[in-house]
Chain length 317, copies 2
């Protein structure tokens, strides 16, 4: 009987689950829309029906050794999701307890960026590292930090909210209710906002002038930049410069061996990575200079689900 | 035979050593000027003569179980002091190796702020905490961070340089060669610089107008503030506001249970702590609000040497 870990990545839009073996191979996966059910028990009913079906469709028997869950505002310590702005389940949801009632195996939960960091450690490019950081660049900016060989959860399980470091006093409005948070500048949404800031400032032509804000995607901006569009290029430089400056400050706290960038925005490639590396080095304290690698994530397919499953395998070494 | 740890705190001005028992009692201490010897072996000759004399002067025999050293730019991993700007020994000094040749017991070294954090954990107010931070406010600003129950050393042993987070772009010149570092604002020296900034800005009377920069101390500013001097009071508010803002950002990285302030500047009391707490709360992300204590260090006498000795006792639990 093949031993597997069940990874469940609960995103604002979709929930993706997968059966992941010890080598990080995903032998089956499935999904459902996270927002379909207002009641979390109804959501879990459908999710576990899908999981049972996927299990019975396999050509061989599997033994589920544990479940790892990534979810917004999830606390590793309490096993709960706390007031997640992007989910329909309000207040404090004791997800680990609810899942364990359905399948009595070890269940771990943490936020998606911590899961990404665990995935990088167990299956990705950080297997030999004990101190590193993963920055997830999606709609927002998440961060997962490894220190002394383990995820830095902090006192309450909520460490690693680098996306909500305030980087511009009285800056852009953030979904968290404050102003000037890093993720309002450095994220897919931040890139869109910066395009409009720069279109307002500059006078010259740009293919981006024909696209309404609500239709613009960070991918379009990256493509335009790679075609030589000046506003698009400057947008990535602006974004990467802010990220590099802030990472230099975060390095002064945690001193990592490497910083991995993860998520859709990293597909932009050199136009993102080059100015991040340059600005980081320019702003580092001397003792950190020329030491810290800025790398793309070593996880590609099923990255989110792999990270969740890694929460299980990390405990079963 | 009484078991003790030998703590050695190497400061820019003085080196202080002490014999510390498991309960944190200092049974004997001594000192010598750190800058007296240009050669580190000559320095260690005199230091160990003093230690031997102190040992033979005791009324009973002691068994030295280990040595803990706090020093600027010291790496826990390599046992070296690296290019310390304030010491006469240049380059990389293999201090652990040199000390171990003289006394063959376990020898640990780290920077003074990490030692302070270890002291807080073993002997101070953080005995029951696994995630906390100590900010040392002296000539500069040091930081020692506990995460997951241990000092956060980072990849190279140099984590926790919060004093060199850049908090004002193109701000005050720092001894590190860059501009705008936190310690140029928040430290005894930072307080002095802020006094002169505010004396330049304001027109009114202040007792501080009669004191030349080189004679002014942060203690004088605190005393003037407590007598109601407006410039002195505003200086502490200004200092504490910057510290509170930056701590809110550091909390988003490490999520500590408490932040301890340590060092001479903390004797200023409420005029420092109150605005730090207020600004911290105002700038925290919602999930951290009303959770994080800002406290004075629980260590009083022999605090630096206690912290060094704690490096030994922490390993012998």
């Amino acid at each position: 009987m093949k031993e597997i870990a069940l990874g469940i990545d609960i995103g604002g839009t979709n929930t993706v689950f997968g059966f992941i073996d010890r080598e990080g191979i995903c032998i089956s996966e499935g999904s459902l829309p996270t927002q379909k059910h207002a009641d979390v028990e109804n959501y879990l009913d459908e999710l576990f029906q899908l999981i049972d079906t996927a299990k019975s469709n396999l050509a061989y028997d599997i033994d589920i050794k544990g479940i790892g869950i990534g979810a917004p505002n999830a606390s590793y310590y309490t096993g709960t999701i706390e007031q997640a702005a992007n989910l329909r389940w309000k207040g404090s949801v004791p997800l680990v307890e609810l899942v364990q009632k359905r399948l009595d195996v070890p269940v771990y939960i943490t936020n998606d960026a911590n899961a990404a960091a665990m995935g990088e450690k167990v299956f990705g490019a950080a297997r030999d590292m004990n101190n590193f950081m993963v920055i997830t660049l999606g709609t927002g900016l998440g961060s997962g930090i490894f220190a002394n060989g383990d995820v830095l959860y902090g006192h309450d399980g909520f460490a690693g909210e680098v996306g909500h470091m305030i980087v511009r006093k009285s800056g852009r409005e953030c979904g968290c209710g404050r102003k000037g948070c890093l993720e309002t500048y450095v994220s897919a949404t931040g890139v869109k906002r910066s395009v409009y800031k720069l279109l307002a400032r500059h006078n010259g032509g740009s293919e981006l002038r024909d696209i309404p804000f609500n239709q613009l995607t960070a991918k379009m901006v990256a493509e335009a930049a790679n075609r030589g569009d000046e506003v698009a290029t400057e947008t990535f430089t602006y974004t990467a410069t802010i990220l590099g400056e802030v990472l230099a400050n975060v390095v002064a706290v945690t001193s990592p061996e490497a910083i991995f960038l993860f998520g859709g925005l990293t597909k932009a490639g050199d136009i993102l990575f080059d100015p991040v590396r340059k600005t980081l080095e320019e702003n580092l304290l001397t003792i950190y200079k020329n030491k810290i690698k800025v790398l793309p994530s070593g996880l590609t397919d099923n990255a989110a689900v792999l990270g969740c499953a890694a929460l299980v395998w990390n405990k079963k070494k």
